[in-house]
Structures are given as structure tokens and as C-alpha cells.
């Protein structure tokens, strides 16, 4: 018991590590926000572009979605951070982490938005056109509101799952909570900072996981 307290909940060590881990946690939150905004916006844009029914564009978007859904996030991140500099393209750890995760989220949410647009029944298109609405207005005023409603719980779940990947930023020396905690642990020879980092992550994600549970229940019924 004493051993556990000394190693996981060592108060002096934690107090000393707190500012550094907290600073890291802010970085984590910043990355997470960038990833969600960029990823979901890009995903929606891709799904809308697919509605234009241009063959070349559709092929490109489908290929993008397949590749970024399939590759592990860490592989993409490492590739961006360690591979691209050989071409003279250099990203900061922050950008490399955010771009990699946003690229993955964009692929997943493009697929979700596209599927939910397809899920709105054909009759809606026909009814709107009978009312004299153009295709574009039908999409914006009739189809999208229904599609987005269907997409909300799915996109929320994906966003949460993918923002958990911000911890992977430690691999490209992003000074986020986990990475910072690890370096303090090495200096202090005590793993309590890790507990602290884990606590921060849990404080961030437990409410989100709970939120996704609520959303799933609320939106599980169609109109």
C-alpha cells in the first residue's frame, strides 16, 4: 500500500510536476480542438463534393477516404513528421500531430456524412423537385438537415476516438501532457507524474464518453 502511494500518488512529486503537465494538457486540448474543427469541416466538404457527381473528384475522394481510414494514425503521423522533411516539407510537432489526426477524422466523417446523405430517402429529392427547388437548394434545405441529424452521434463518437490520439503526439516530441509527464518521471525516478497525466486525460475524456452515450440514445430514432 505504501509502495503504491509512494509511486503513483507521491504528493511532493506531483506538486512539482503539476505546472508542466498542466501546460502539456493545454497543448493536448488545443490539438484536440484543431483536429475536430478541421477534420469535421473537411469531412463535410468532401461529402458535399461527392454530391456534385464528378467522376474524377469522386475517385479522388474515395481513394483518400479508403487510405486514411485504413492506415494507423501513428503511421501517418510518423510519415508526416519524419518522412516529409526529405522533400523539404517540415512541420512543427503541433502541426504534424494535428494534421495527421485531422486527416484521419476527415476520412471517417466524409464517409459518415456521405452515408447519411444517401440514407435520406429518394422521395425527399423528388418531393423537393416537385416543389420547384433546385438540386443545390434541395441539398441545403431538405437533405442536409436530416443527414446531419443522423450523423451527429456517429461523428461525435469518431471525433472522440480520434482525439484520444493526441497522446500519440509524444512520438513526434509534441510537449503534450503524457510526453511532459514522461520526462519528469525520468528526472524524478518516480511515476507519479504519469498518474497526473492519466488523470488529466480522464478528466477530459470521461465527460465526452458520457456525452456520446447521451447523444446515441437521443438520436437513435429516425423521424
Amino acid at each position: 500500500m505504501k509502495q503504491i502511494l509512494d509511486n503513483y500518488f507521491n504528493v511532493p512529486v506531483m506538486v512539482e510536476a503539476f505546472p508542466e503537465v498542466l501546460r502539456g494538457f493545454f497543448v493536448t486540448v488545443e490539438v484536440a480542438l484543431c483536429v475536430i474543427v478541421l477534420g469535421v469541416a473537411l469531412g463535410l466538404a468532401f461529402a458535399l463534393l461527392r454530391c456534385a457527381e464528378n467522376r474524377v473528384l469522386n475517385f479522388l475522394i474515395t481513394a483518400y477516404v479508403e487510405v486514411f481510414r485504413t492506415l494507423p494514425q501513428l503511421v501517418i503521423m510518423i510519415f508526416i513528421y519524419f518522412g516529409l522533411p526529405y522533400l523539404g516539407i517540415r512541420f512543427s510537432p503541433f502541426l504534424a500531430t494535428a494534421l495527421a489526426l485531422a486527416a484521419v477524422l476527415a476520412a471517417f466523417s466524409a464517409e459518415i456524412f456521405w452515408a447519411t446523405i444517401m440514407a435520406v430517402s429518394k422521395g425527399q429529392w423528388e418531393a423537393a423537385s416537385a416543389l420547384g427547388l433546385s438540386r443545390r437548394r434541395t441539398l441545403r434545405l431538405v437533405i442536409l438537415p436530416q443527414a446531419i441529424r443522423l450523423a451527429i452521434p456517429l461523428v461525435t463518437n469518431r471525433s472522440i476516438a480520434i482525439t484520444k490520439g493526441t497522446a500519440l503526439g509524444a512520438a513526434v516530441s509534441l510537449p503534450e501532457a503524457l510526453g511532459n509527464a514522461q520526462s519528469i518521471m525520468a528526472i524524478q525516478a518516480n511515476p507519479s507524474p504519469l498518474t497526473l497525466a492519466a488523470a488529466f486525460y480522464l478528466a477530459f475524456f470521461i465527460p465526452l464518453v458520457w456525452l456520446s452515450r447521451v447523444l446515441e440514445k437521443r438520436y437513435s430514432k429516425a423521424y
Binding site: 485504413t70 492506415l71 501517418i76
Partner: protein, 226 residues
Amino acid sequence: MDLFLQNFMNIPSLMRIYPLLLQGLELTVLLALVSLPLSILSGLSVAILYSFGGLRSRRAVIIMIDFLRSFPVLVLLILIYYSLPFFGLTLGSFTAVVAALVINNTGYFGEIFRAGLESIPKGQHEAAAALGLHRFKAMILIILPQAIRKVVAPLASNSLELVKATSIAALVSLPELLRSARVAQEQTYNPTPLTAAAVIFFIMLWPFSHWVSRMERKAIIGRNER
């Protein structure tokens, strides 16, 4: 273009490092083969515990599932790998990765199976009881097969995520595919190994991921039609 080919598809460098990549691939596959069944089994047990439990134990199971799901898997891995040695318990990196993946995915799979079990109407339990089946037997023979059929899509999708997540092993220097590629890249001063690793991951996982996404799309469309 030339610069691109020389850097990312450099054949001589590929020839030199491919044994290393193959070794890495082997470890990646092994990691997946060990962690996936363990996670599914453990998630299933948690879900069954939930459906047999009373009100209080059900709530406890939900809290546990959400707690496990809230951990980024890397945080769990670092916690396991770097803190246990302070207790004189040194896990190999392979064991640590398997432990982190299984603990984290117990939450994910637990929630999937739980939702599946809960979606089976009560009448099925009652009918089974009326036929004189023991609760446990009814679960295995009647409830579970129906529940699993309902959650095939999320099960497959989460299994894919688990296999993808094995790459975090690179961060505790387990020489799986990604780690081997990084080592090779540093030895050859050339990112071709990274390209190769990405291509291998893609070829290995794409058929599965394509299948998963088709199933998910069908599920979304089907859900709206109901």
C-alpha cells in the same frame, strides 16, 4: 518527381531493409493475433456480467466500461510499461502492449456486446425460461447468437481499430512493423522504409477496412429506413 521517387521509393534501400520489415510484420501480426481474441473474450464476459447483474452491478459495469474507454490506449501503455518496474515487476514490451490493448478494448468490446445483448427483447429470455432452459444455457444458445448478429458491424470496425492500434508498440521500442521501418529509415537516411511500412499496412488492412465501411454504410441506411 525524381526527388520524390529517390526518397520514397528507393529500390536499393528497399532491398537492403526488407528482412527487417518482414520481421516487423511478423510481430505486428502476432500482436494482433494475441490481443484481438483476448479483448473480445474479455469484453464479452463483461457484457454477460452486465446482463446477469442486478441494478447495482449493472451500474458498476457501465462505470467500468466508460472508465476503460476514456483512456487513450497510449496513456495506458506508458503507465503499464514504465511504472510497474518501480514495483519490481518488469513486463516485456510485448506483454505490456497486449495488456494495454486488452484493458482498453475490454471497454470498447464490452459496450458493443452490452448494447447487442440489451437489444434482444425480454420475450426471448422468458420463452427460453418457459422451455426449461437454465439462464446460462439460454444466454449461450439463444440470446448471444442473436445479439452478435446485430453488432457485427461495430465488432468488425473495432477489431480493425485494435489491429491499427498495435502500431503504438513502436513507442515502447517493440520492433513491430512501424518501429522496424523507423529504425531502417535512420540506418539508410531515406524514408523509403516508412513508405514501405505504410504500403504493407494498407495492403494488409484494406480488404477488411473496405468491408467494414460497406457494412457501416448499410447499417446507417437501414437504420433510417426502419
